[in-house]
Symmetry: C2
Subunit: 314 residues, 2 copies
């Protein structure tokens, strides 16, 4: 039996855009929109909410900003077919640049923060909730903070009005038993709140860890088409929907989007499992060095990378 | 704490050879040999035991046969550094073609069979044990047999002298909870025997399912360098060793082998996760159609494949 509380969030444009500075043409974003809506996905995270004063439009594509005219162009003339979400990073969006929800096509704002930024994240999340949006807080890189720091951050989040808090495996470092442990820990500190999951695939465990979190009762599930996302990528949406039992979900529209618009990008910029990402994941490191490595020589001389970043055998 | 009963079997040459008819040069096989031995791996499965009357040497490389002169050439003049295993398929090896163990560099023969071939598999396994080899039986494609058939096959295996019986996810169809269930089922039917794991990666779960099996107390673990193996490939050896706690294991030699000899093959024949293998895995089908698809047009028009093989939505 399926769990009706489960919501699936497609993050293809937002997380995939970390690989190409959101340089997607409208045909790409429209195809993702049509396909994930037809597949029964609950939310489409279409990019970041950023202030245009902080990032130049000449360098970044439209989905770094999620301005209303860009959203409208994707929706077209028919009624909107799926809820839209955008991610906001602490300090990169001026509160005054966020319109009231009734003047926006966005339905949800997801605030990404590190443990030491929790107070700022709650302030931003409350602000967008007061403007009429749904909100989540996505607590990043918890694999690098101590147990005491995490407990304190969770207790602060517990006092907030934010209804959904995410377990984020930013570095792709966790095994299934870690996710099970974290979801239970979050539940203890966050009574009454919903737990979300955002996994990375450095150890080919993004889907497996999402399953482990589902079993532990996490209900907001992030995934992307063909795993399109930073570095080793994310939980593949097509695997997640074929696992979930809710009969509203359809895989064929996802295969169509992968076929038409995702594989062409994959052939250009390849994300997914590779030795440098495996190494950064097992060492619990940010993927930036591995990404630079992959950009520079495209999976060659991985032993050189190992010897440079692994101070001791993994 | 690590479990000393755990044995790791590298299947790179044997399972990877299913992708190229074992057309590996000696430099490839020697590098795998040196590296997996240096990494502390317990067995290297170096190919199949097949009768040369059944397969032409003109079409198949040396590791379809594992003849003693070929094995000796890899070992060279120094003492052998790791135990060698070879796989035998029912009906493809004449018993008379198997030398006594004391005249062979092979230490273990692994008999692969389907549920309806269990009696023949036990006969072959007992034969090689009587010739002095270690033996396992690898029961394939159990995701396609009924519960009654599986119980009967397991009970027959329970009456045998064969000490190690494998859970094999031939089609990459299982989730972690399936593997946990199967390992427990095998343990019930096979008291006193060791359970092995051989997973495929159609749903990016080969490593995760191996972890699930380890937690359920399976102790013989198959993996391959960079997941090199048929179709979506296998559990990546580098991930498995970085997960296992036994301090004898080393990852660096594996990265060296991947760098020097595995990635060049990957660039030529690409195995691993792709939409056709995902579809065959979720549909519980043999990967042969997906492999033909991948050979034919290399990951293009995956929607056409979906519509051809998926009679109903997955």
């Amino acid at each position: 039996m399926y769990r009706p509380e489960i919501k699936v969030i497609d993050c293809t444009v937002r997380d995939g855009g970390l690989m190409n500075k959101w340089q997607f043409d409208d045909a790409f974003v429209k195809q993702v929109y049509e396909s994930v809506a037809a597949a029964g996905v609950d939310y489409m995270e279409i990019g970041y909410l950023s202030s245009e004063s902080a990032f130049p439009r000449s360098e970044y594509g439209a989905w770094k900003f999620c301005a209303e005219p860009d959203l409208k162009r994707i929706i077209g003339k028919e009624p909107k077919k799926i809820k839209f979400a955008a991610m906001a990073d602490i300090g990169r969006i001026d509160f005054n640049d966020i319109p009231p929800a009734d003047q926006s096509s966005l339905d949800m704002v997801r605030v990404a923060c590190y443990a030491h930024q929790v107070d700022a994240a709650v302030e931003l999340a409350h602000h967008v909730m007061d403007k009429g949006y749904e909100a989540t807080i996505n607590l990043m890189a918890v694999s690098t903070v101590t147990g005491r720091e995490l407990n304190e951050a969770l207790d602060d989040l517990g006092k907030s009005r934010v209804p959904v808090i995410y377990v984020v495996d930013s570095f792709g470092n966790y095994y299934q038993e870690d996710i099970e442990h974290l979801v239970h820990l979050y539940q203890e500190h966050l009574p009454g709140k919903t737990i979300g999951l955002h996994m990375h695939n450095n150890q080919q465990l993004a889907f497996a860890n999402t399953i482990a979190g589902i079993i532990a009762n996490a209900n907001y599930l992030d995934a992307t088409l063909y795993g399109f996302g930073r570095g080793a990528g994310n939980c593949p949406l097509e695997l997640l929907l074929s696992f979930l039992k809710n009969p509203k979900f359809r895989v064929r529209p996802l295969v169509e989007a992968i076929d038409k618009v995702v594989l062409p990008w994959y052939r250009k910029i390849e994300w997914g499992y590779s030795v440098p990402y495996m190494i950064s994941g097992t060492l619990n490191q940010h993927p930036r060095e591995a990404m630079a490595k992959m950009d520079a020589d495209h999976r060659d001389s991985v032993l050189e990378f190992y010897d440079r970043v692994a101070s001791q055998p993994v």
